[in-house]
């Protein structure tokens, strides 16, 4: 007997919240990130630490020295691999991805990340500009676009899963008070640049004769949160099937260009790390690409002419990109879906618009980021600044930062390995011109706001007692 699914479900009811908690990558990033934070806090409260498992290569000058170091710490690296495989494995399995395919692919990603990490701490790496994010990206791009990536490896390249987990862990290193202090400025700066960038791309695209839904998809990709912004708005406005791939191609190409351009230009101008991080957060297009650029610039901290700490670059980027831009994607989707429904040409499909759109599209990993920050801030409230640096940082925050660096390295390597340029959709000249006009405007506005208007604010980010 044939059954009709529509008779047994209530389609207008929101998807079960409990089901969503285990069916979306964002929530799994929250569970994994917060799980690690809670375990770290429990260990810290009992006088222990996650230092043993949060192992990382130390500075080396010869291959023999590196080999000895790796051999000595082999059990720790093995434990770290098993930990990450178990955590990400549970997550991907719940998402419906084959664990049998993911495990060997992730082993490759882990081994590649260890190699990248080791190159980054070579005592000659600064001399050759071998910043780990750039090395990971270039290595991945080289493999993907020459010999190619075998099919078995693709299921391990979960770029977004890795970066979202890293962002939740990053919350543990960002005091909640700092978020409250800097968040409003980040929101104001990001709002200005996002509105101007979106308006530019949309206006140019429509003037070039492109469909409004494609124009909006391109605009969201350039102004809000890259590929995620493009795909969210494409769905909200009911874009043509080919619109999102066009926007995605342009976002990826420009994001990769900016991973190299923004740190290099910032370095040439001698921007303080916090200022450069804010500019990168304003003018990069995707979280994963932006973290690669921000972490690269953080690596320049301490070099002649570069003021600020390594962390300030990543912190300023995070505030600008995650709090200033990412969290507003639901609002953009809601507003644009209302316009599409009421003002734009009909498509034969009726969109149902309501305020729930804001939460449905909210990047839920941000919830984990805030909670991680709040937990560590609560734990640290009884410590003076000096005690925090001497006790809390090495035993609690440091290991979590180490795990975060691993998650980001998995992400950076995966970006390169997953980016096969010939597989991307052809964008066409008009979308390219429209998007690129937004890139230019975005760069200029982002630069002015970060280095002039709010320069003092970003320069002082992360200093004690703001």
């Amino acid at each position: 007997m044939t059954t009709i699914s529509a008779t047994t479900t209530r389609p207008d009811a929101p998807p079960s919240f409990r089901r969503e908690l285990f069916a979306k990558e964002d929530w799994w990033a929250v569970w994994i990130g917060l799980g690690l934070v809670i375990v770290a806090v429990l260990a810290f409260s009992t006088g222990s630490s996650l230092k043993w498992i949060a192992v990382a290569p130390q500075k080396w000058s010869s291959l023999g020295e590196l080999g000895t170091q790796l051999a000595t710490n082999a059990p720790r690296y093995l434990a770290l691999f098993v930990l990450w495989l178990a955590l990400f494995g549970i997550g991907v399995r719940s998402l419906g991805i084959s664990l049998r395919q993911f495990a060997p692919a992730f082993a490759f990603v882990f081994a590649g990340s260890l190699l990248v990490y080791a190159i980054g701490v070579w005592d000659q790496s600064t001399r050759y500009n071998l910043e780990p994010p750039l090395v990971a990206l270039l290595l991945g791009l080289l493999i993907a676009n020459t010999v190619g990536v075998p099919a078995w490896l693709k299921s391990g390249l979960r770029v977004e899963f890795f970066v979202k987990t890293g962002i939740v862990l990053l919350g543990a290193g960002l005091p909640f008070t700092l978020i409250l202090w800097a968040g409003p400025v980040a929101i104001v700066q990001a709002a200005i640049v996002s509105l101007v960038t979106f308006g530019t791309i949309y206006f140019v695209a429509v003037r070039l004769g492109l469909d409004r839904r494609l124009a909006a998809t391109l605009g969201a990709g350039g102004a809000v949160c890259g590929v995620s912004g493009a795909i969210a708005v494409a769905g909200a406005v009911g874009a043509k099937k080919e619109d999102a791939p066009i926007a995605i191609t342009l976002v990826i190409l420009w994001a990769i260009v900016m991973i190299f351009v923004l740190p290099l230009v910032s370095k040439a101008l001698g921007l303080p790390t916090g200022v450069a991080g804010a500019w990168i957060g304003t003018s990069e297009f995707a979280d994963a690409a932006g973290f690669a650029a921000a972490q690269t610039y953080g690596g320049y901290a301490g070099q002649p002419g570069i003021a600020g700490t390594a962390e300030a670059s990543v912190q300023a980027f995070t505030l600008m990109k995650v709090i200033g831009r990412d969290v507003w994607i639901g609002v953009w989707a809601l507003v644009l879906s209302i316009l599409a429904t009421t003002r734009w040409e009909r498509t034969g499909v009726d969109s149902r618009v309501d305020g729930g759109e804001i939460w449905r599209r909210f990047p839920k990993f941000v919830v984990g980021f805030f909670i991680a920050s709040a937990i560590i801030t609560l734990v640290a409230r009884g410590y003076s600044y000096d005690q925090f640096k001497k006790v809390v940082t090495p035993d609690l925050v440091g290991p979590l930062q180490g795990l975060r660096t691993w998650a980001f390295t998995f992400c950076f390597l995966s970006i390169g390995l997953a980016t096969r340029l010939r597989d991307l959709a052809a964008a066409g000249a008009k979308p390219f011109y429209a998007f690129t006009s937004g890139v230019v405007v975005n760069l200029i506005f982002g630069f002015i706001l970060s280095t002039i208007v709010f320069a003092d604010f970003w320069r002082n980010l992360g200093q004690p007692a703001p």
């Binding site: 007997m1 044939t2 059954t3 009709i4 699914s5 529509a6 008779t7 047994t8 209530r10 389609p11 207008d12 979306k24 990558e25 964002d26 929530w27 998402l95 390249l157 770029v159 977004e160 899963f161 949160c225 590929v227 995620s228 795909i231 969210a232 769905g235 909200a236 009911g238 874009a239 043509k240 099937k241 999102a244 791939p245 995605i248 191609t249 976002v251 990826i252 994001a255 995707a286 994963a288 690409a289 639901g330 879906s337 498509t347 034969g348 499909v349 009726d350 969109s351 759109e357 449905r360 599209r361 909210f362 990047p363 839920k364 990993f365 970006i415 997953a418 980016t419 597989d423 959709a425």
Partner: protein, 81 residues
């Protein structure tokens, strides 16, 4: 008792049953979307929250919200018993 067709459904049920997510032309599976939208998995994901319940409509060749509706709705056949 399971109705044999949509015509047998009470009117309110028929109304709420017309959502794209429940249509035979709609495909919102994350794996399918990652395979059919080039670059989606490079710097985003088919499993991301921002995607909500969006998917591809094979009939209109559009990427749209699963909460949308249209006149061409055809209920998805769940299986055979």
């Amino acid at each position: 008792m399971i109705p044999a067709s949509l015509a047998d459904l009470p009117f309110p049920t028929l109304q709420i049953a017309r959502r794209c997510a429940d249509c035979v032309h709609f495909d919102g599976a994350a794996r399918t979307l990652e395979a059919e939208i080039p670059g989606l998995a490079v710097m985003s994901s088919g499993y991301a929250s921002v995607r909500a319940d969006d998917g591809l409509c094979r009939l209109h060749d559009r990427y749209l919200s699963g909460r949308s509706r249209c006149e061409s709705f055809e209920p998805r056949v769940a299986g055979h018993a």
